[in-house]
Protein backbone atom coordinates (compact mmCIF):
# COMPACT_ATOMS: atom_id res chain seq x y z
CA UNK A 1 0.00 0.00 0.00
CA UNK A 2 2.78 2.38 1.01
CA UNK A 3 4.60 1.58 -2.22
CA UNK A 4 1.44 2.32 -4.24
CA UNK A 5 0.98 5.70 -2.50
CA UNK A 6 4.63 6.58 -3.18
CA UNK A 7 4.08 5.82 -6.87
CA UNK A 8 0.96 7.98 -6.90
CA UNK A 9 2.93 10.89 -5.46
CA UNK A 10 5.37 10.80 -8.36
CA UNK A 11 2.79 9.94 -11.04
CA UNK A 12 3.39 11.67 -14.39
CA UNK A 13 0.56 14.21 -14.70
CA UNK A 14 0.10 13.27 -18.36
CA UNK A 15 -1.60 10.05 -17.20
CA UNK A 16 -4.19 12.22 -15.44
CA UNK A 17 -4.74 14.23 -18.65
CA UNK A 18 -5.22 10.98 -20.55
CA UNK A 19 -7.76 9.62 -18.03
CA UNK A 20 -9.72 12.91 -18.13
CA UNK A 21 -9.74 12.81 -21.93
CA UNK A 22 -11.08 9.23 -21.91
CA UNK A 23 -13.82 9.88 -19.35
CA UNK A 24 -14.96 12.96 -21.30
CA UNK A 25 -14.92 11.32 -24.75
CA UNK A 26 -16.65 8.03 -23.84
CA UNK A 27 -19.97 9.53 -22.57
CA UNK A 28 -20.05 11.83 -25.62
CA UNK A 29 -19.89 8.80 -27.93
CA UNK A 30 -22.05 6.51 -25.73
CA UNK A 31 -24.57 8.75 -23.88
CA UNK A 32 -25.90 7.53 -20.52
CA UNK A 33 -28.91 9.86 -20.22
CA UNK A 34 -28.22 10.95 -16.62
CA UNK A 35 -31.06 13.17 -15.29
CA UNK A 36 -30.72 16.99 -15.08
CA UNK A 37 -32.88 18.78 -12.50
CA UNK A 38 -33.32 22.58 -12.86
CA UNK A 39 -32.10 24.59 -9.86
CA UNK A 40 -33.88 27.62 -8.38
CA UNK A 41 -31.39 30.04 -9.94
CA UNK A 42 -32.17 28.77 -13.46
CA UNK A 43 -35.92 28.62 -12.72
CA UNK A 44 -35.79 32.28 -11.58
CA UNK A 45 -34.13 33.30 -14.87
CA UNK A 46 -36.68 31.25 -16.84
CA UNK A 47 -39.62 32.83 -14.97
CA UNK A 48 -38.20 36.33 -15.42
CA UNK A 49 -38.09 35.83 -19.20
CA UNK A 50 -41.44 34.04 -19.26
CA UNK A 51 -43.09 37.02 -17.53
CA UNK A 52 -41.88 39.64 -20.05
CA UNK A 53 -45.03 41.06 -21.71
CA UNK A 54 -45.61 40.10 -25.36
CA UNK A 55 -44.21 42.59 -27.93
CA UNK A 56 -41.83 44.03 -25.31
CA UNK A 57 -38.42 44.91 -26.71
CA UNK A 58 -35.62 42.90 -25.10
CA UNK A 59 -31.92 43.65 -25.36
CA UNK A 60 -29.67 40.58 -25.54
CA UNK A 61 -25.97 41.30 -25.28
CA UNK A 62 -23.49 38.79 -26.71
CA UNK A 63 -20.48 39.36 -24.48
CA UNK A 64 -18.51 36.20 -25.25
CA UNK A 65 -16.39 34.62 -27.96
CA UNK A 66 -15.46 31.22 -29.38
CA UNK A 67 -13.26 30.41 -26.36
CA UNK A 68 -16.35 30.13 -24.12
CA UNK A 69 -18.80 29.04 -26.83
CA UNK A 70 -19.48 25.55 -25.37
CA UNK A 71 -20.76 27.14 -22.16
CA UNK A 72 -22.59 30.25 -23.36
CA UNK A 73 -23.78 29.49 -26.89
CA UNK A 74 -26.35 26.85 -25.81
CA UNK A 75 -27.78 29.50 -23.44
CA UNK A 76 -27.99 32.00 -26.31
CA UNK A 77 -29.90 29.50 -28.45
CA UNK A 78 -32.27 28.60 -25.57
CA UNK A 79 -32.90 32.25 -24.60
CA UNK A 80 -33.64 33.30 -28.20
CA UNK A 81 -36.07 30.36 -28.59
CA UNK A 82 -37.84 31.41 -25.40
CA UNK A 83 -38.02 35.11 -26.33
CA UNK A 84 -39.26 34.52 -29.89
CA UNK A 85 -41.86 32.02 -28.64
CA UNK A 86 -43.03 34.68 -26.15
CA UNK A 87 -43.46 37.12 -29.04
CA UNK A 88 -40.76 39.50 -27.84
CA UNK A 89 -38.72 41.60 -30.23
CA UNK A 90 -34.99 41.31 -29.76
CA UNK A 91 -32.24 43.91 -30.08
CA UNK A 92 -28.73 42.43 -30.11
CA UNK A 93 -25.58 44.25 -28.99
CA UNK A 94 -22.03 42.90 -28.58
CA UNK A 95 -19.46 44.26 -26.13
CA UNK A 96 -16.94 41.65 -27.30
CA UNK A 97 -15.65 41.71 -30.90
CA UNK A 98 -16.20 37.95 -31.32
CA UNK A 99 -19.73 38.36 -29.99
CA UNK A 100 -20.74 39.59 -33.44
CA UNK A 101 -20.02 36.18 -34.99
CA UNK A 102 -21.64 34.35 -32.10
CA UNK A 103 -24.80 36.44 -32.45
CA UNK A 104 -24.93 35.97 -36.24
CA UNK A 105 -24.62 32.19 -35.83
CA UNK A 106 -27.32 32.05 -33.14
CA UNK A 107 -29.73 34.30 -35.09
CA UNK A 108 -29.19 32.35 -38.29
CA UNK A 109 -30.11 29.14 -36.48
CA UNK A 110 -33.04 30.39 -34.38
CA UNK A 111 -34.52 33.58 -35.89
CA UNK A 112 -34.06 32.66 -39.56
CA UNK A 113 -33.95 28.84 -39.46
CA UNK A 114 -36.50 27.91 -36.81
CA UNK A 115 -38.87 30.91 -36.60
CA UNK A 116 -38.49 32.52 -40.06
CA UNK A 117 -38.54 36.04 -38.57
CA UNK A 118 -38.01 39.31 -40.41
CA UNK A 119 -34.77 41.22 -39.86
CA UNK A 120 -35.30 44.78 -38.69
CA UNK A 121 -38.90 44.09 -37.63
CA UNK A 122 -38.71 41.13 -35.22
CA UNK A 123 -35.04 41.37 -34.40
CA UNK A 124 -32.02 43.50 -35.15
CA UNK A 125 -28.29 42.97 -34.67
CA UNK A 126 -26.59 46.26 -33.78
CA UNK A 127 -23.20 44.56 -33.69
CA UNK A 128 -20.03 45.29 -31.78
CA UNK A 129 -18.85 48.61 -30.40
CA UNK A 130 -15.52 49.00 -28.58
CA UNK A 131 -15.59 50.93 -25.32
CA UNK A 132 -16.75 48.34 -22.76
CA UNK A 133 -18.87 49.96 -20.04
CA UNK A 134 -18.68 53.32 -21.84
CA UNK A 135 -20.92 51.80 -24.55
CA UNK A 136 -23.50 50.75 -21.93
CA UNK A 137 -23.34 54.17 -20.29
CA UNK A 138 -23.69 55.72 -23.76
CA UNK A 139 -26.85 53.83 -24.73
CA UNK A 140 -28.52 54.74 -21.44
CA UNK A 141 -28.61 58.24 -23.03
CA UNK A 142 -28.87 57.49 -26.77
CA UNK A 143 -28.74 54.50 -29.09
CA UNK A 144 -28.16 56.53 -32.29
CA UNK A 145 -25.17 58.33 -30.74
CA UNK A 146 -23.42 55.00 -30.15
CA UNK A 147 -24.82 52.80 -32.91
CA UNK A 148 -25.19 54.97 -35.99
CA UNK A 149 -25.51 51.85 -38.14
CA UNK A 150 -26.32 48.20 -37.34
CA UNK A 151 -24.12 45.18 -38.11
CA UNK A 152 -25.34 45.23 -41.75
CA UNK A 153 -24.37 48.92 -42.10
CA UNK A 154 -28.05 49.99 -42.20
CA UNK A 155 -28.67 53.38 -40.62
CA UNK A 156 -30.30 52.83 -37.22
CA UNK A 157 -33.01 55.42 -38.02
CA UNK A 158 -34.13 53.33 -41.01
CA UNK A 159 -34.73 50.15 -38.94
CA UNK A 160 -38.45 49.74 -38.04
CA UNK A 161 -37.70 47.91 -34.78
CA UNK A 162 -35.63 50.88 -33.57
CA UNK A 163 -38.55 53.31 -34.02
CA UNK A 164 -39.29 54.73 -30.59
CA UNK A 165 -36.12 53.25 -29.11
CA UNK A 166 -34.06 56.29 -28.24
CA UNK A 167 -32.19 54.86 -25.26
CA UNK A 168 -32.13 51.87 -22.88
CA UNK A 169 -35.11 53.44 -21.08
CA UNK A 170 -37.26 52.17 -23.97
CA UNK A 171 -36.15 48.57 -23.40
CA UNK A 172 -38.22 46.25 -21.20
CA UNK A 173 -35.64 43.64 -20.27
CA UNK A 174 -31.89 43.06 -20.59
CA UNK A 175 -30.21 39.67 -20.87
CA UNK A 176 -26.41 39.51 -20.80
CA UNK A 177 -24.64 36.44 -22.15
CA UNK A 178 -21.38 37.06 -20.39
CA UNK A 179 -17.94 35.42 -20.33
CA UNK A 180 -16.15 38.08 -18.26
CA UNK A 181 -15.31 41.76 -18.61
CA UNK A 182 -17.26 43.60 -19.96
CA UNK A 183 -20.37 41.60 -19.15
CA UNK A 184 -23.08 41.01 -16.57
CA UNK A 185 -21.51 43.10 -13.83
CA UNK A 186 -21.20 46.15 -16.10
CA UNK A 187 -24.80 45.77 -17.31
CA UNK A 188 -25.91 45.82 -13.66
CA UNK A 189 -23.69 48.77 -12.76
CA UNK A 190 -24.46 51.06 -15.70
CA UNK A 191 -27.89 50.01 -16.99
CA UNK A 192 -29.95 47.81 -14.72
CA UNK A 193 -29.35 49.60 -11.39
CA UNK A 194 -29.48 53.25 -12.55
CA UNK A 195 -32.48 52.78 -14.89
CA UNK A 196 -34.22 50.05 -12.83
CA UNK A 197 -34.52 47.75 -15.88
CA UNK A 198 -35.09 44.08 -15.08
CA UNK A 199 -31.96 42.15 -16.04
CA UNK A 200 -30.92 38.52 -16.07
CA UNK A 201 -27.76 36.79 -17.16
CA UNK A 202 -26.10 33.63 -18.37
CA UNK A 203 -22.45 33.34 -17.35
CA UNK A 204 -19.47 30.99 -17.53
CA UNK A 205 -19.01 28.70 -14.52
CA UNK A 206 -15.92 30.57 -13.40
CA UNK A 207 -17.92 33.81 -12.99
CA UNK A 208 -20.78 32.37 -10.94
CA UNK A 209 -19.31 33.12 -7.51
CA UNK A 210 -18.65 36.71 -8.54
CA UNK A 211 -22.14 37.32 -9.94
CA UNK A 212 -24.21 35.43 -7.33
CA UNK A 213 -24.28 38.35 -4.83
CA UNK A 214 -26.10 40.44 -7.48
CA UNK A 215 -28.72 37.69 -7.77
CA UNK A 216 -29.16 37.37 -4.00
CA UNK A 217 -29.61 41.14 -3.65
CA UNK A 218 -32.26 41.18 -6.39
CA UNK A 219 -30.12 43.21 -8.83
CA UNK A 220 -30.29 40.27 -11.26
CA UNK A 221 -33.31 38.04 -11.93
CA UNK A 222 -31.81 34.56 -11.65
CA UNK A 223 -28.68 33.30 -13.34
CA UNK A 224 -27.87 30.58 -15.85
CA UNK A 225 -24.64 29.13 -14.50
CA UNK A 226 -22.32 27.58 -17.06
CA UNK A 227 -23.04 24.52 -19.16
CA UNK A 228 -25.13 22.81 -16.41
CA UNK A 229 -27.27 25.98 -16.21
CA UNK A 230 -27.76 25.91 -19.98
CA UNK A 231 -28.74 22.21 -19.78
CA UNK A 232 -31.26 23.04 -17.04
CA UNK A 233 -32.72 25.85 -19.17
CA UNK A 234 -33.05 23.49 -22.15
CA UNK A 235 -34.84 21.06 -19.83
CA UNK A 236 -37.27 23.83 -18.77
CA UNK A 237 -37.99 24.67 -22.43
CA UNK A 238 -38.87 21.01 -23.06
CA UNK A 239 -41.01 20.74 -19.87
CA UNK A 240 -42.93 23.91 -20.82
CA UNK A 241 -43.40 22.71 -24.43
CA UNK A 242 -41.48 25.68 -25.84
CA UNK A 243 -39.03 23.44 -27.72
CA UNK A 244 -39.38 19.69 -28.36
CA UNK A 245 -35.82 18.50 -27.65
CA UNK A 246 -32.86 19.29 -25.42
CA UNK A 247 -29.88 21.03 -27.03
CA UNK A 248 -26.10 20.71 -27.03
CA UNK A 249 -25.66 21.51 -23.31
CA UNK A 250 -28.10 18.81 -22.22
CA UNK A 251 -26.39 16.24 -24.44
CA UNK A 252 -23.00 17.08 -22.91
CA UNK A 253 -24.03 16.71 -19.27
CA UNK A 254 -23.15 12.98 -19.04
CA UNK A 255 -19.52 13.78 -19.86
CA UNK A 256 -19.56 16.68 -17.37
CA UNK A 257 -20.95 14.52 -14.53
CA UNK A 258 -18.57 11.60 -15.11
CA UNK A 259 -15.56 13.94 -15.39
CA UNK A 260 -16.54 15.59 -12.09
CA UNK A 261 -16.77 12.21 -10.38
CA UNK A 262 -13.30 11.27 -11.59
CA UNK A 263 -11.84 14.63 -10.50
CA UNK A 264 -13.39 14.20 -7.02
CA UNK A 265 -11.79 10.75 -6.92
CA UNK A 266 -8.41 12.25 -7.90
CA UNK A 267 -8.71 14.85 -5.12
CA UNK A 268 -9.49 12.15 -2.52
CA UNK A 269 -6.64 9.88 -3.68
CA UNK A 270 -4.26 12.86 -3.88
CA UNK A 271 -5.09 13.84 -0.30
CA UNK A 272 -4.66 10.28 0.99
CA UNK A 273 -1.27 10.13 -0.73
CA UNK A 274 -0.25 13.53 0.73
CA UNK A 275 -1.23 12.65 4.31
CA UNK A 276 0.39 9.21 4.07
CA UNK A 277 3.62 10.84 2.89
CA UNK A 278 3.48 13.41 5.70
CA UNK A 279 2.91 10.68 8.29
CA UNK A 280 5.87 8.74 6.92
CA UNK A 281 8.13 11.81 7.00
CA UNK A 282 7.15 12.51 10.63
CA UNK A 283 7.93 8.90 11.54
CA UNK A 284 11.52 9.15 10.31
Amino acid sequence: MSNFLDKLDSLDRRYIFLIIAIVVILPLIFPLGLPVEPTNLTIDAFDAIDNIPKDEKVLVSFDYGPSTKPEIHPMAIAILRHLFTNGNRVIITCLWPDGLFMSREALEQVADGEFGLEYGVDYVNLGYRPGNEAVIKGITKSFPANFTVDSRAININEIPLMNGVQSLKDIGFIFSLSAGYPGSKEWVQYASDPLKIKTSTGVTSIQVNEILPFVKSGQLQGIIAGMPGAAEYEQLLVKNKIHPTIGKAGKSMDAQSIAHLVIVLFIIVGNISYFAKRKKEKKY
Binding site: P97, L100, R129, Q189, Y190, I206, N209, S252, A255
Partner: protein
Protein backbone atom coordinates in the same frame (compact mmCIF):
# COMPACT_ATOMS: atom_id res chain seq x y z
CA UNK B 1 -20.39 19.79 -48.40
CA UNK B 2 -18.40 22.70 -49.88
CA UNK B 3 -14.62 22.74 -50.06
CA UNK B 4 -14.61 25.76 -47.73
CA UNK B 5 -16.44 23.81 -44.99
CA UNK B 6 -14.12 20.82 -45.28
CA UNK B 7 -11.02 23.02 -45.31
CA UNK B 8 -12.36 24.92 -42.28
CA UNK B 9 -12.91 21.63 -40.44
CA UNK B 10 -9.30 20.52 -41.12
CA UNK B 11 -7.91 23.87 -39.90
CA UNK B 12 -10.09 23.69 -36.77
CA UNK B 13 -9.00 20.15 -35.99
CA UNK B 14 -5.33 20.93 -36.61
CA UNK B 15 -5.35 23.99 -34.33
CA UNK B 16 -7.29 22.18 -31.59
CA UNK B 17 -4.96 19.17 -31.60
CA UNK B 18 -1.91 21.46 -31.83
CA UNK B 19 -2.97 23.37 -28.71
CA UNK B 20 -3.87 20.17 -26.83
CA UNK B 21 -0.48 18.68 -27.78
CA UNK B 22 1.09 21.04 -25.21
CA UNK B 23 -0.27 18.70 -22.53
CA UNK B 24 2.33 16.20 -23.77
CA UNK B 25 5.11 18.79 -23.93
CA UNK B 26 6.15 21.96 -25.77
CA UNK B 27 6.44 21.14 -29.49
CA UNK B 28 6.46 22.76 -32.98
CA UNK B 29 2.70 22.14 -33.52
CA UNK B 30 1.87 24.05 -30.36
CA UNK B 31 4.22 26.88 -31.35
CA UNK B 32 2.52 27.21 -34.77
CA UNK B 33 -0.95 27.34 -33.20
CA UNK B 34 0.19 29.83 -30.56
CA UNK B 35 1.68 32.25 -33.11
CA UNK B 36 -1.29 31.96 -35.46
CA UNK B 37 -3.64 32.69 -32.54
CA UNK B 38 -1.77 35.83 -31.46
CA UNK B 39 -1.50 37.19 -35.01
CA UNK B 40 -5.06 36.46 -36.04
CA UNK B 41 -6.50 37.84 -32.77
CA UNK B 42 -4.64 41.14 -33.12
CA UNK B 43 -5.61 41.56 -36.79
CA UNK B 44 -9.22 40.59 -36.14
CA UNK B 45 -9.59 42.93 -33.17
CA UNK B 46 -7.98 45.83 -35.05
CA UNK B 47 -10.16 45.35 -38.15
CA UNK B 48 -13.41 45.01 -36.21
CA UNK B 49 -12.63 48.05 -34.04
CA UNK B 50 -11.81 50.19 -37.08
CA UNK B 51 -14.82 49.29 -39.24
CA UNK B 52 -17.34 49.21 -36.36
CA UNK B 53 -16.21 52.21 -34.35
CA UNK B 54 -13.60 54.49 -35.91
CA UNK B 55 -15.06 54.50 -39.42
CA UNK B 56 -18.80 55.05 -38.75
CA UNK B 57 -18.65 56.82 -35.37
CA UNK B 58 -15.58 59.05 -35.82
CA UNK B 59 -14.98 59.60 -39.56
CA UNK B 60 -18.73 59.28 -40.19
CA UNK B 61 -19.42 62.22 -37.87
CA UNK B 62 -16.50 64.36 -39.01
CA UNK B 63 -17.18 63.91 -42.74
CA UNK B 64 -20.73 62.58 -43.26
CA UNK B 65 -22.01 62.08 -46.80
CA UNK B 66 -22.65 65.46 -48.49
CA UNK B 67 -24.02 67.07 -51.60
CA UNK B 68 -21.16 69.11 -53.15
CA UNK B 69 -23.64 71.82 -54.22
CA UNK B 70 -24.68 72.54 -50.61
CA UNK B 71 -21.22 73.05 -49.10
CA UNK B 72 -20.67 76.49 -47.60
CA UNK B 73 -18.17 78.37 -45.39
CA UNK B 74 -15.91 76.24 -43.19
CA UNK B 75 -17.19 72.97 -44.67
CA UNK B 76 -15.74 73.89 -48.08
CA UNK B 77 -12.28 73.91 -46.50
CA UNK B 78 -13.09 70.93 -44.26
CA UNK B 79 -14.13 68.68 -47.14
CA UNK B 80 -11.01 69.71 -49.10
CA UNK B 81 -9.02 67.93 -46.37
CA UNK B 82 -11.36 64.96 -46.81
CA UNK B 83 -10.81 64.91 -50.57
CA UNK B 84 -7.07 64.67 -49.86
CA UNK B 85 -7.75 61.63 -47.69
CA UNK B 86 -9.81 60.09 -50.53
CA UNK B 87 -6.59 59.98 -52.51
CA UNK B 88 -5.02 58.01 -49.62
CA UNK B 89 -7.75 55.31 -49.63
CA UNK B 90 -11.04 55.46 -51.51
CA UNK B 91 -12.53 52.50 -49.62
CA UNK B 92 -12.01 54.16 -46.22
CA UNK B 93 -12.77 57.68 -47.48
CA UNK B 94 -15.22 57.25 -50.39
CA UNK B 95 -16.14 60.15 -52.65
CA UNK B 96 -18.73 62.60 -51.18
CA UNK B 97 -18.25 61.59 -47.54
CA UNK B 98 -18.84 58.58 -45.28
CA UNK B 99 -22.23 56.94 -45.94
CA UNK B 100 -24.65 56.22 -43.08
CA UNK B 101 -26.65 59.48 -42.79
CA UNK B 102 -24.92 60.63 -39.60
CA UNK B 103 -25.13 64.24 -38.53
CA UNK B 104 -21.90 66.21 -38.66
CA UNK B 105 -20.43 66.82 -35.19
CA UNK B 106 -17.08 68.64 -35.15
CA UNK B 107 -16.54 68.07 -31.41
CA UNK B 108 -15.23 64.68 -32.53
CA UNK B 109 -12.07 66.50 -33.73
CA UNK B 110 -10.94 66.36 -30.07
CA UNK B 111 -11.36 62.55 -30.05
CA UNK B 112 -9.55 62.36 -33.41
CA UNK B 113 -6.62 64.40 -32.10
CA UNK B 114 -6.39 62.35 -28.89
CA UNK B 115 -6.30 59.22 -31.05
CA UNK B 116 -3.49 60.66 -33.18
CA UNK B 117 -1.60 61.65 -30.00
CA UNK B 118 -1.80 58.03 -28.85
CA UNK B 119 -0.12 56.96 -32.12
CA UNK B 120 2.55 59.62 -31.50
CA UNK B 121 3.97 57.30 -28.84
CA UNK B 122 5.60 55.43 -31.73
CA UNK B 123 7.74 58.52 -32.57
CA UNK B 124 10.29 59.14 -29.77
CA UNK B 125 10.61 62.93 -30.33
CA UNK B 126 6.88 63.58 -29.78
CA UNK B 127 5.89 60.59 -27.69
CA UNK B 128 5.03 62.92 -24.77
CA UNK B 129 1.81 63.81 -26.62
CA UNK B 130 0.54 60.30 -25.88
CA UNK B 131 0.38 61.19 -22.16
CA UNK B 132 -2.55 63.55 -22.84
CA UNK B 133 -4.56 60.74 -24.43
CA UNK B 134 -3.66 58.35 -21.61
CA UNK B 135 -4.59 60.98 -19.00
CA UNK B 136 -8.00 61.32 -20.66
CA UNK B 137 -8.54 57.55 -20.77
CA UNK B 138 -7.44 57.05 -17.13
CA UNK B 139 -9.56 59.96 -15.88
CA UNK B 140 -12.63 58.93 -17.84
CA UNK B 141 -12.34 55.26 -16.84
CA UNK B 142 -11.76 56.07 -13.14
CA UNK B 143 -14.76 58.40 -13.01
CA UNK B 144 -17.00 55.97 -14.83
CA UNK B 145 -15.98 53.00 -12.69
CA UNK B 146 -16.24 54.77 -9.32
CA UNK B 147 -19.83 55.69 -10.11
CA UNK B 148 -20.84 52.15 -11.14
CA UNK B 149 -18.89 50.46 -8.37
CA UNK B 150 -20.22 52.69 -5.58
CA UNK B 151 -23.87 52.39 -6.58
CA UNK B 152 -24.04 48.69 -7.51
CA UNK B 153 -21.23 46.95 -5.62
CA UNK B 154 -21.16 48.98 -2.41
CA UNK B 155 -24.53 50.62 -1.71
CA UNK B 156 -26.78 48.01 -3.35
CA UNK B 157 -24.78 45.14 -1.79
CA UNK B 158 -24.94 46.70 1.71
CA UNK B 159 -28.67 47.09 1.17
CA UNK B 160 -28.88 43.46 0.02
CA UNK B 161 -27.12 42.18 3.14
CA UNK B 162 -29.53 43.88 5.56
CA UNK B 163 -31.84 40.91 5.99
CA UNK B 164 -34.63 39.96 8.41
CA UNK B 165 -34.21 36.87 10.59
CA UNK B 166 -37.93 36.29 11.24
CA UNK B 167 -41.40 37.53 10.26
CA UNK B 168 -43.20 37.92 6.89
CA UNK B 169 -43.91 34.18 6.67
CA UNK B 170 -40.22 33.22 6.81
CA UNK B 171 -39.49 29.54 7.48
CA UNK B 172 -36.62 28.17 9.56
CA UNK B 173 -34.64 27.57 6.36
CA UNK B 174 -34.84 31.24 5.36
CA UNK B 175 -33.77 32.30 8.87
CA UNK B 176 -30.71 30.01 8.74
CA UNK B 177 -29.82 31.21 5.23
CA UNK B 178 -30.01 34.87 6.21
CA UNK B 179 -28.09 34.22 9.44
CA UNK B 180 -25.27 32.49 7.53
CA UNK B 181 -25.15 35.38 5.05
CA UNK B 182 -25.00 38.02 7.80
CA UNK B 183 -22.39 36.15 9.88
CA UNK B 184 -20.30 35.45 6.75
CA UNK B 185 -20.37 39.10 5.66
CA UNK B 186 -19.52 40.52 9.09
CA UNK B 187 -16.77 38.02 9.94
CA UNK B 188 -15.30 38.32 6.43
CA UNK B 189 -15.09 42.08 6.84
CA UNK B 190 -13.47 41.61 10.27
CA UNK B 191 -10.73 39.48 8.67
CA UNK B 192 -9.82 42.32 6.29
CA UNK B 193 -9.60 44.88 9.12
CA UNK B 194 -5.86 45.13 9.74
CA UNK B 195 -5.67 48.12 12.12
CA UNK B 196 -6.15 45.84 15.14
CA UNK B 197 -4.05 42.76 15.89
CA UNK B 198 -6.03 39.56 15.25
CA UNK B 199 -6.02 38.33 18.88
CA UNK B 200 -8.63 37.43 21.52
CA UNK B 201 -12.29 37.92 20.49
CA UNK B 202 -11.22 39.79 17.37
CA UNK B 203 -8.95 36.90 16.40
CA UNK B 204 -11.74 34.35 16.88
CA UNK B 205 -14.20 36.37 14.81
CA UNK B 206 -11.69 36.87 12.00
CA UNK B 207 -10.94 33.12 12.17
CA UNK B 208 -14.61 32.45 11.39
CA UNK B 209 -14.22 34.91 8.50
CA UNK B 210 -11.31 32.82 7.16
CA UNK B 211 -13.51 29.70 7.19
CA UNK B 212 -16.14 31.52 5.13
CA UNK B 213 -13.44 32.70 2.72
CA UNK B 214 -12.09 29.16 2.39
CA UNK B 215 -15.56 27.83 1.56
CA UNK B 216 -15.87 30.60 -1.05
CA UNK B 217 -12.48 29.67 -2.58
CA UNK B 218 -13.55 26.01 -2.65
CA UNK B 219 -16.74 26.93 -4.50
CA UNK B 220 -14.73 29.07 -6.94
CA UNK B 221 -12.36 26.15 -7.58
CA UNK B 222 -15.32 23.83 -8.18
CA UNK B 223 -16.85 26.26 -10.66
CA UNK B 224 -13.46 26.73 -12.36
CA UNK B 225 -13.11 22.95 -12.84
CA UNK B 226 -16.68 22.78 -14.15
CA UNK B 227 -15.95 25.57 -16.64
CA UNK B 228 -12.75 23.98 -17.92
CA UNK B 229 -14.43 20.59 -18.37
CA UNK B 230 -17.26 22.31 -20.28
CA UNK B 231 -14.73 23.87 -22.65
CA UNK B 232 -13.01 20.50 -23.10
CA UNK B 233 -16.39 18.91 -23.90
CA UNK B 234 -16.97 21.64 -26.51
CA UNK B 235 -13.63 20.88 -28.19
CA UNK B 236 -14.20 17.12 -28.09
CA UNK B 237 -17.68 17.57 -29.59
CA UNK B 238 -16.02 19.39 -32.50
CA UNK B 239 -13.33 16.71 -32.86
CA UNK B 240 -15.95 13.92 -32.86
CA UNK B 241 -18.08 15.80 -35.43
CA UNK B 242 -15.10 16.34 -37.76
CA UNK B 243 -13.97 12.72 -37.52
CA UNK B 244 -16.89 11.75 -39.81
CA UNK B 245 -16.58 10.68 -43.43
CA UNK B 246 -18.02 13.92 -44.89
CA UNK B 247 -15.07 15.84 -43.43
CA UNK B 248 -12.54 13.34 -44.79
CA UNK B 249 -11.90 11.82 -41.31
CA UNK B 250 -10.03 15.03 -40.43
CA UNK B 251 -9.62 14.25 -36.69
CA UNK B 252 -8.36 10.70 -37.17
CA UNK B 253 -5.93 11.55 -39.99
CA UNK B 254 -4.47 14.61 -38.25
CA UNK B 255 -4.24 12.83 -34.89
CA UNK B 256 -2.26 9.96 -36.42
CA UNK B 257 0.02 12.34 -38.36
CA UNK B 258 0.70 14.53 -35.32
CA UNK B 259 1.32 11.63 -32.92
CA UNK B 260 3.69 10.01 -35.45
CA UNK B 261 5.57 13.31 -35.98
CA UNK B 262 5.90 13.91 -32.23
CA UNK B 263 7.21 10.37 -31.73
CA UNK B 264 9.81 10.82 -34.50
CA UNK B 265 10.87 14.20 -33.09
CA UNK B 266 11.14 12.65 -29.64
CA UNK B 267 13.33 9.81 -30.92
CA UNK B 268 15.60 12.21 -32.80
CA UNK B 269 16.02 14.61 -29.90
CA UNK B 270 16.02 12.84 -26.51
CA UNK B 271 14.92 14.87 -23.49
CA UNK B 272 17.84 16.41 -21.54
CA UNK B 273 18.39 14.76 -18.18
CA UNK B 274 16.98 16.79 -15.29
CA UNK B 275 19.58 18.49 -13.13
CA UNK B 276 19.67 17.18 -9.60
CA UNK B 277 19.50 20.10 -7.18
CA UNK B 278 20.80 19.24 -3.76
Amino acid sequence: MSFGNIFGAWVTVFLTLAILSYLYKDNPFYKIAEHVYVGVSAAYWGTIAFWNQVWPNLFGRLWPEYDPATLTGFNKFWYKIYNGLTWFSSSIFPENGIPGNQEQNLWYIIAFLLGLFMLARLIPSINWLGRWSLAYVVGMAAGLRIYGFMSSNVIAQIHGSILPLWGNGMGIGDTINNLVLIVGTVTGLFYFFFSVEHKGIFGKVSRVGIYFLMISFGASFGFAVMGRISLLIGRFNILIEYSKEQYGYATIVLLVVMVATLLILNLKKPEPEEEIVE
